[in-house]
Amino acid sequence: MIKKSEPGMTIIVKTITRYTVALILLFGIYIVLHGHLTPGGGFAGGVIVALSFVHIMLAFGKETAIKKMSEKSSGILESLGAILFVTIALLGLTAGYFFFNFITGQKPLETSFFRLFSSGIIPFCNIAICLKVGAGLFGIFLALIFFKKND
């Protein structure tokens, strides 16, 4: 399947990935941050971020990808994203209800409608979901793709 001389694919794929990975990552972050203005959101952006790491791994083999984000750090990042999301929800409790949009309090001011941080907790929730989805799917990918048989 992959010739064992050196990990990853041929030199052509490696040079191309050196350029495209940054673009994919940037595109994913754009999708997350503009989740409430343009199509996309926490999930789509998170999966794109995970795919950029997957892209590195397929092209350069596991070791370089591990340098970028090791299994341990992907687990930690994922739990942190999840805890951030639940704390945003719990903070809503302070202002009355569980997922209450406590920043805008259900009455956002008209002037800020099409700006980046215009809708209270939605951008922060998107960021939390992106963290969680990206790290989690990369963790699944690491476990499934490099699952060696012991015999």
Partner: protein, 173 residues
Amino acid sequence: MLDLQILLIFMIIAAVVAVEIKDMLGSVVAVGAIGLGLSMCFLLLQAPDLAIVQLVVEILSLVILIRAVGIKNGVSAVKKRKIFSIVSVLLFIGLFIYFSTKALIELPSFGNPIMRVAERYLISGIRETGAANLVSAIILDYRAFDTLGEATVLFTAVIGVLAVIRRVGRKSK
């Protein structure tokens, strides 16, 4: 919508190919084709959010399925399938489709849904949540609790895969 129907027929053909083909890699690629067709359908049905998510999720599940199939022994062993089981399955599917058409007639026709609750989201969505993309307004403000459940589903899947994949299950006594 003729273009939607053509796309749907293409997806059904791809599904039949994915089910009946002997070579495993071929059927995985056919599933990829269905997924991308589905993403096209979402675009035609004015759902850009879903088109992006479906496309990207499709790529990831394709990579994982190809890893599971592996390139080496791609052919699935052909066993003599019992005729009785095929007939009973087809009978069940026939009944299912027959009764669902009787139920489908009662639904509002394709293209004009009754949008009692959705009307309020459309009109006052931006005023109450401030988000221009009303779908993400629903996901993260009106029905944010679903998205909490959603994030938990993915978290469970990650921990579940890590639990199933680990090398030794029981410590040797």
